[in-house]
Amino acid sequence: MNPDLLARLRRFAAELRASIIVMNCHAGSGHPGGSLSCVEIVSWLFDQEMRFSPENMADPDRDRFILSKGHSCLALYAALAEKGFFSKDAFRSLRHVDGMLQGHPDRLKTPGVEFNSGSLGQGFSFALGCALGAKRAGRRSRAYALLGDGELGEGQVWEACMFAAHHALDNLVAVVDYNKFQSDDLCTRITALEPLAAKFAAFGWHVLEIDGHDFREIANAFARARAMAGRPTVIIAHTVKGKGVSFMEGVPKWHGSLCPSGEERACALRECGLTEAL
């Protein structure tokens, strides 16, 4: 990866992290941990991978991003603002009455949101519908679904896995934000996911496993997904919950329902490389 692109992506990711912290503080609640863990994946998708912009939102050929782990919508809203779907002023409305930004994504309220995700498993199936619809219509549109690791407990996910492989949806990419924590505890202490890659492979998927914070690995994985014919691809992205904010990294309480104090906010923004208030 050329150094200019890498620098650009790192700036993009830093902006997203800062936006996530700022939104979290405006709302007084939300899900910062799982939003921070998927920042590099979301940055790559929105800045490099997808044909998706405010100008082509009505174009049936546009690529679709479905945040199946809808609670991590801080990352989605940050990316949409960064790409110009709405102003960062909207961050103040998050989780407030009449707000454009809901606690979980709402396509009817927020420009750029494709689906009302949040009930886990459903966004993934929705993405299958997008991919199947594109194939049936002969369109080049691709669908990208971002799932949480805890989300894989939903039976619907494995229904979708069987369908997508059987129907050879090679225009579908699922990314698992494998940050190892779900709401209550470590995934390994709830129901073990491993061997995760083998599970997806057994369901007929093309499986890639990467460091979900390394842009070179991310770029390479999405390129390999694009080149794969006849099978859907899953990218198992190993990530750190709360990534980039020292006091949140790997600390379960930052899954949701709280926000940083004023001091923590300043510290978090500093660690993201940004000190200006948004």
Binding site: P60, R64, I66, D106, R107, L108, E114, F115, N116, G118, S119, G121, Q122, G123, F124, S125, F126, A127, L128, G129, C130, A131, L132, G133, A134, R136, A137, R139, S141, A143, G155, Q156, E159, A160, M162, F163, H166
Partner: protein, 310 residues
Amino acid sequence: MENMRDAFGKALTRLAGQRDDFVVLDADVAGGTGTHHFRAAYPDRFIQCAIAEQNMFSMAAGLASTGVIPIVTCYGVFASMRALEQARNSIAYPGFKVIIAASHLGLDVGPDGATHQALEDIAIYRAVPGIQVVSPADPHELASVLPRLLDGDSPVYLRTGRSPLPDVFAPDTAFDHGRAQVLHEGRDTAILAVGVMVHRAVAAARRLQDEGVGCRVLNMSWLKPMDEAAVLAAARETGALVTCEDHNKYGGLGGAVAEIVGEGHPVPLRRVAIQDVYGESGDPDDLAAKYGLTTDHIMAAVRAVLRRKG
């Protein structure tokens, strides 16, 4: 007399020759829902989703987002319970135009027994914002309403059915969809019926006519939004109501009518419905007799409500 599932499958097939804007999704019950007729004629527009209703419902929303209208088909218990949350959060809340078509409703299911007899689906779907609930009374109304639903803007829960039903309507009936049709006129009481109970209600009204009791019969196929004006007019003009449904007594047609007249024009009301119990295996007519859903039961309910009318 044609069974409702065959009528549904054949109506879809005829419609597919006239418009190419819809596809049919199935959860491995095509022979049960009648969509095997469609599959045979239009295999490219038939999507087999396997026994995985939850994925099917959410995926249908994704398909709808690409500009095609999915008609999602399965049995009533699965459409209204197993995949209900997908219907709510993937279809109704985001506002995707998906038609959920459910066969196998109530005791009309017959020998398959209680696991497959949906007694709750009207109550359940009435409670979900943003989705219409429609239950045609015979094959002609079913065939007529399909293009109307495809042309509409809203997601729909469409109750098709299973058993053969006698014609309630003439084949060339011009329906005013959304309105409750008066199928028999009378001033003493009004019988409001839905689905398989409509032809029984008409038969009850004819027999009561011979006894000197005049019944207005209304076909309440539009369960949501309901024709409230017709319900209130029936309450005002007859002073007593009987509701009839092959559904549990709570939250269905009877519940909806009670809500409307309770707020708008209270009158004595009797509900002919399943009395909050599960069904069992048996011939549909035998089950109707055992669980209180026959023409005789409707007539008894009319006589009872007339006594209260005073």
